[in-house]
Symmetry: C2
Subunit: 207 residues, 2 copies
DNA sequence: GTCTATAATCTGATAGAC
DNA sequence: GTCTATCAGATTATAGAC
């Protein structure tokens, strides 16, 4: 390693293998639950002995950390795309609904990812400082998007996140694969917007 | 066992030990997480060898089941008490706020219990038919209480549960021990009541 | 960089003596 | 009813050969 350039062919190969391991980890986890990630299982899937994975990740939690990071990066992309798609609708309500739908859809489309990103469910795992910084940044981008539709103060923002995660949670745990709670999103958004109107100055309603 | 009365001294003693084991299980679980319940740990805490516990519960899942049942029984009592306390406030808004506060308080006061009762987080555990029946009955009592304050149709009820669990979830995972989301409960209830008003006939507003 | 071998430890659960 | 002994398996992780 020492003395050699970072963008070595060896380094590139290594990063590819790391990506492959993370991808396989998602497969395992979607099949056996978030806590059901075993190194043996993972090794088998990636075509290695379980022990060889330690050449790429120092511990199992380092793998979770890579998944955590990847998940938040995917979230950032998802929300950005959704906003672009619905740019035509330039009324605040339309945008708000689109953002809300995008959020819930992202979460329900992969519930183990949701578990890893937004719930604290695997013991002894804490994201690394780097990954957590990215998570915070993505959360701030999401907040900024909401602030363009009239959600300015922290309390209002907290209420929005509570409602959106609540809908997501119920959908995942009580009607997986269905749309019993998803279909309430527009109604929930209207409700939130009406609430925001009574708690902020009319000025803040404008973009 | 056969031929002897059910309320035998032996049977009573046995039930006491079972209660003791369940209580110790709560302790273990609060310390090491819901999934961190180990028979050895449990045995140590209850003053037995781990293997002896199998004289009282046929499997680990049977212990989870007993905890699940106990949790729902506690929930029923909690909600009933909260409603009595706030009987003085006979305006619908006051009652609604009291019920909402009681729900969130119950959940946040013991987050592993919340996890066991309302989220599906431990793999391979499904409550027994008996326990599940109790859970359903308690849920229906809770629904009935909401229906006295204007929440009649399923969609509205779903929205309420989504908002209440959302507030709970955010409080637990992003501000444990604090009240950042708890203090939004009254505002959330007002918002929900306003929404219910626009989605039902004015008749249903009356008790 | 991947392998074999293995350490060290944990898990839930069972059989049978007392 | 509690014990000892033990099974059969899992886990993360390390050492050292190739």
């Amino acid at each position: 390693m020492s003395g050699k350039p970072n963008s070595d062919r060896r380094t590139v190969r290594r990063q590819e293998t790391q990506r492959e391991i993370v991808q396989a980890s998602w497969e395992v986890v979607r099949e056996h639950g978030l806590a059901g990630l075993s190194m043996r299982d993972l090794g088998e899937r990636v075509g290695m002995r379980a022990q060889s994975i330690y050449s790429y990740f120092a511990s199992k939690n380092e793998i979770y950390d890579a998944m955590f990071l990847e998940g938040y990066e995917a979230f950032a992309v998802w929300i950005a795309n959704a906003a672009d798609d619905d740019r035509a609708a330039d009324d605040p309500t339309g945008v708000a609904r689109a953002v809300a739908r995008a959020f819930v859809e992202f979460c329900t489309s992969d519930h183990v990812r949701y578990q890893l990103l937004f719930q604290r469910t695997i013991p002894d795992f804490t994201p690394s400082a780097e990954s957590y910084a990215v998570a915070l940044q993505v959360y701030e981008e999401f907040s900024a998007r909401l602030s363009t539709i009239g959600v300015h103060d922290q309390a209002t923002l907290d209420l929005w996140t509570a409602v959106l995660t609540g809908v997501t949670d119920q959908q995942i745990s009580n009607d997986p694969g269905g749309d019993r709670w998803k279909q309430l999103i527009d109604r929930a958004v209207d409700m939130l917007l009406a609430d925001a109107r009574t708690h902020t100055t009319t000025e803040s309603e404008k973009v």
